[in-house]
């Protein structure tokens, strides 16, 4: 634990490149045809007719399949009016919804043929924003009687709690919709042979992808093998297989021909799920000396066109509403509303960044209202270290936390007092470039359904090498390095003799995969425990072979040898022990589960420069404490934090998915979607802190999403802080120059 180890994955990725789905040259895919989807150009329409004859006439077209051809597939669950079809049949509900697919011999023929599929639409009024959705004049699913797909309310003391407050601040803010944009778009390939499907898919979870394909096609999961090649990023948006992945498998089965599909970026920006998308109204109240006594969060979650994961996101936001603060009265309410836009699902943080963004803006606005330094308000309201484990009003059981220490540490590293002095200097001098200092303190929930746990199988071979089969699934995190380190730590076997395999449902029958920052705490713990079990078994074997009592055996991790105490010359190595294990093999299978989630926490300081004349924002420093317990490999953990910070800052500064009044996406290419680049970010300053959890033997929590959760509100708070002396109270994200400039001007003119 704690050693800096460079990744074993890298030489391959840096020389031949990874093998992503579109790179596959497997024999089973020889002669594969290409799948191209026909997507809806309308946000909301009835499908009145489909004509595929022209497309069928194009040379190279193997097959054209539409929603009308899906009768061989199981019908959606009974009575579910909001079920999402694989290919739209009667209606389309977002621009980009798959309506048909063409299968062609050549890569370039697909687009030509897709253009010739004629779909007749009868346009319906689009439900584009949340106001439209809640008004309910047009319904996406008329049978369900409402656009509100789910709702939940806490029954609190409500207004009484606020009536007792000396100060109450209320505001409505937007946590805008953003696009995950993994650099590898979605991709899949499939081959049907001997009544079995093999599906290669760029996913975070091979097993869930298998179940999605089997369920979608109405075949037994044992008839589907899913293989996950290298995956070029997921960020929550590649959980499972998506309807396109299922359709690709279906096309292989229907045509009997291996097929492959990789979406274009323009398809990806409308076809892959988006993240965030909440409108939040908060009310925060307390005393003039900075004690917060009541907090209410009222949010509307934009689900997009189908219910996918939106209710889960809203639930997580609601549960985590009060964050790191000890607030006597907390209430949270949500509505999940359907709109004619791309469906919304998980994106790095999934529900927790939204909770943190709301409370951290609320705390800053409360601090501004009472004229107190936001540092001080936070300090006065943190849950104290002696209150853990701590059950929040939202029903979350926080395991461990040192919130004040995290804030103090990050403020010291940032030089908070000096920054405030510099800010005062610039304000006094009327400097056109003002300094803003933004704080955030966060706690989040990791472990991603810990009850279902994660699997590991560890096999020691006769030649002393090891294979680890993990149910967890990497897409950049460095599992191969991390899992090899865990095995090496216990068994002393050199890392280059350890092979980590993942993402093959035939080789690994049970597995869950990667989301919710669960890998190390569940999958890593499973590997750790498997190593311990193997070690225990090895001890028995060695005792037999050396004719010694188990208690007299010694294992040396430095050379990987078992010896009898006092006889240093005779040692048994792992290869020998594997041979001794005979046909049983020297192996262990572990399925580690936990009945509780873990709660990493931290604090961020963002420093921005804002040009008060143009509104242009520059992030100049970003300092963080992200405490997810002990760190296995700082190289990997820091990488997760850095990537997360960039995505969080991107939401605060730049990125937003936009639609026009007709529900047409206007950010559907990378020219229009302002993906954050190297020039818009500084180097990050990371401060260490490690508070273990008692919930797993490694003491670890998840680090994958922390950076994003902390960064967004810190950067947003910094931008507001930079111009707060001009009377600005709030600026919605993304804090574009236009928005900042407008906010300054409105404050000046007293609007």
């Amino acid at each position: 634990m704690g050693t800096r180890v460079v990744r074993v994955e890298d030489p391959r990725l840096l020389t031949t490149g990874g093998t992503y789905t579109d790179d596959l040259r497997e024999p089973e895919l020889t002669g594969a045809a290409y799948v191209t989807f026909v997507r809806s150009p309308y946000a909301h329409a009835r499908i009145t007719g489909v004509d595929v004859s022209a497309a069928r006439g194009v040379p190279g077209v193997v097959e054209v399949l539409t929603g009308q051809d899906t009768d061989d597939l199981p019908a959606p669950a009974d009575g579910n009016p909001t079920a999402e079809p694989m290919l739209a049949k009667d209606a389309v509900r977002y621009v980009g919804e798959p309506v048909a697919l063409v299968v062609t011999d050549g890569r370039y023929q697909g687009e030509d043929a897709a253009d010739l599929v004629t779909v007749e639409y009868e346009p319906l009024p689009p439900v584009v924003d949340l106001e439209d959705a809640l008004r309910g004049e047009t319904l996406l699913f008329p049978e369900s009687g409402s656009n509100v797909l789910a709702a939940a309310q806490d029954e609190g003391a409500g207004d009484d709690a606020f009536a007792a407050c000396e100060v109450v601040v209320e505001h409505t803010i937007v946590n805008q919709r953003v696009a995950p944009v993994p650099l590898e778009t979605r991709a899949a390939a499939a081959a049907w042979a001997h009544d079995r499907l093999t599906v290669w898919v760029s996913t975070q979870n091979a097993h869930w992808a298998r179940d999605a394909v089997a369920g979608g096609l109405g075949i037994d999961p044992s008839a589907v093998r899913v293989i996950t090649p290298d995956v070029g990023g997921g960020f929550g948006a590649k959980i499972g297989a998506d309807r396109e992945g299922v359709a690709v498998a279906w096309a292989a089965k229907r045509t009997g021909r291996p097929v492959r599909w990789v979406e274009t970026r323009s398809e990806n920006l409308v076809g892959m799920t988006h993240g965030r998308g909440q409108r939040q109204t908060f009310k925060i109240g307390g005393t003039r000396d900075g004690r917060i006594t009541a907090y209410r969060l009222d949010l509307v979650q934009d689900a997009g066109a189908y219910p996918r994961m939106a209710t889960l996101l809203a639930t997580l936001t609601k549960s985590m509403a009060s964050g790191v603060y000890d607030i006597p009265h907390v209430e949270a309410y949500f509505q999940v509303a359907a709109t004619n836009t791309t469906p919304v699902a998980a994106y790095r943080g999934a529900g927790r960044p939204e909770a943190t963004a709301a409370i951290e803006r609320a705390v800053d606005m409360f601090a501004a209202e009472i004229g107190m330094d936001p540092r001080e308000v936070r300090r006065r309201n943190f849950i104290a270290p002696d209150k853990f484990p701590h059950t929040t009003p939202g029903g979350m059981e926080y395991d461990t936390g040192e919130y004040a220490a995290a804030l103090d540490r990050v403020l010291a590293a940032a030089g908070y007092d000096e920054l405030r002095a510099e800010q005062a200097r610039r304000r006094e001098a009327g400097d056109p470039v003002q300094l803003g200092i933004g704080l955030s303190a966060y706690v989040e929930i990791t472990g991603g359904v810990p009850e279902i746990g994660e699997t590991a199988r560890l096999v020691v071979h006769d030649d002393g090498t090891v294979t680890v089969l993990t149910g967890s699934s990497p897409h950049g995190q460095g599992h191969a390095t991390a899992w090899a380190m865990l095995v090496h730590d216990e068994l002393g076997i050199p890392m280059d003799k350890i092979t980590v395999r993942h993402g093959d449902t035939d080789a690994i029958p049970v597995g869950i995969g990667t989301f919710g920052s669960r890998s190390l705490q569940l999958g890593g713990t499973a590997v750790h425990q498997a190593a311990l079990e193997v070690k225990e078994r090895a001890k028995e074997l060695a005792a037999d072979e050396l004719e010694a009592d188990k208690a007299d055996l010694e294992f040396d991790t430095a050379d990987g040898l078992w010896r009898v105490r006092g006889t240093p010359d005779i040692g048994l190595d792992w290869g020998r022990l594997a041979q001794l294990a005979g046909s049983d093999g020297l192996a262990a299978d572990v399925h580690f589960t936990s009945d509780k989630s873990t709660f990493p926490f931290g604090a961020h300081v963002a420093v921005v420069e804002v040009d008060a004349e143009t509104g242009k924002v520059r992030l100049v420093r970003h300092v963080t404490v992200d405490d997810a317990g002990p760190v296995l490999n700082p190289v990997l953990a820091e990488g997760q934090r850095q990537g997360g910070i960039a995505q969080g800052a991107a939401q605060a500064l730049l990125e937003e998915v936009l639609y026009d009044a007709q529900g047409n996406p206007v950010t559907s290419t990378l020219v229009d979607y302002p993906f954050i680049t190297a020039t818009e970010l500084p180097s990050f300053e990371l401060v260490d802190m490690a508070t273990p959890t008692p919930l797993n033997p490694l003491g670890v929590k998840g680090i994958g999403e922390a950076g994003t959760i902390g960064a967004t509100p810190a950067v947003q708070n910094a931008v507001v802080d930079a111009v707060s002396h001009l009377g600005v109270r709030h600026i919605d994200m993304p804090t574009t120059p236009e928005r900042v400039w407008t906010a300054i001007n409105e404050a000046r003119t007293g609007q």
Partner: protein, 156 residues
């Protein structure tokens, strides 16, 4: 049409459609799949290769335009004995890659950047890589890797 391109020192000939992009020639014709495609608007740089020594986005060059030219992809960067190029070494040492999808293009762009400016400042590295997107690393370690490679080449 027939196109001949020297890729990583090897002459590759292929019969292609007029509209075939250089990136598809490399991936499908030359079967070199390291060079990736991350967009359809020349925005991401995942497809960056060296064309006659200059870095280009191979998704915006037709194979036909590269007829007779020399192309270097990340597969051609390591020495004949497999020894990693200083830029590849630096990317590993500094953890400048996570999922690895942007990496081949990023490394080629970085190699080209140092050729033009062997001693860049951090800001110059950031500006030089503006056309190469990465979703995983936050660019932090990519920038450090390029600076480390520059320092190493200077020391060598």
């Amino acid at each position: 049409m027939k196109v001949t391109i020297t890729v990583n020192g090897e002459q590759i000939q292929d019969d292609v459609e007029d509209r075939t992009l250089l990136v598809h020639f490399l991936r499908d014709g030359a079967n070199l799949t390291a060079t990736n495609i991350g967009c359809d608007t020349t925005s991401c740089g995942a497809c960056t290769v060296l064309l006659d020594g200059e870095s280009v986005k191979s998704c915006t060059v037709l194979a036909a335009q590269a007829d007779g030219a020399e192309v270097t992809t990340v597969e051609g960067l390591a020495g004949p004995d497999g020894e990693l190029h200083p830029m590849q070494r630096a990317f590993q040492a500094e953890h400048g890659l996570q999922c690895g999808f942007c990496t081949p293009g990023m490394v080629m762009a970085a190699v080209s950047l140092l050729k033009e400016n062997p001693h860049p400042t951090e800001q110059q590295v950031r500006v030089g890589l503006e056309g190469n997107l990465c979703r995983c690393t936050g660019y932090h370690n990519i920038v450090r890797a390029v600076l480390a490679a520059a320092a190493e080449e200077e020391g060598a």
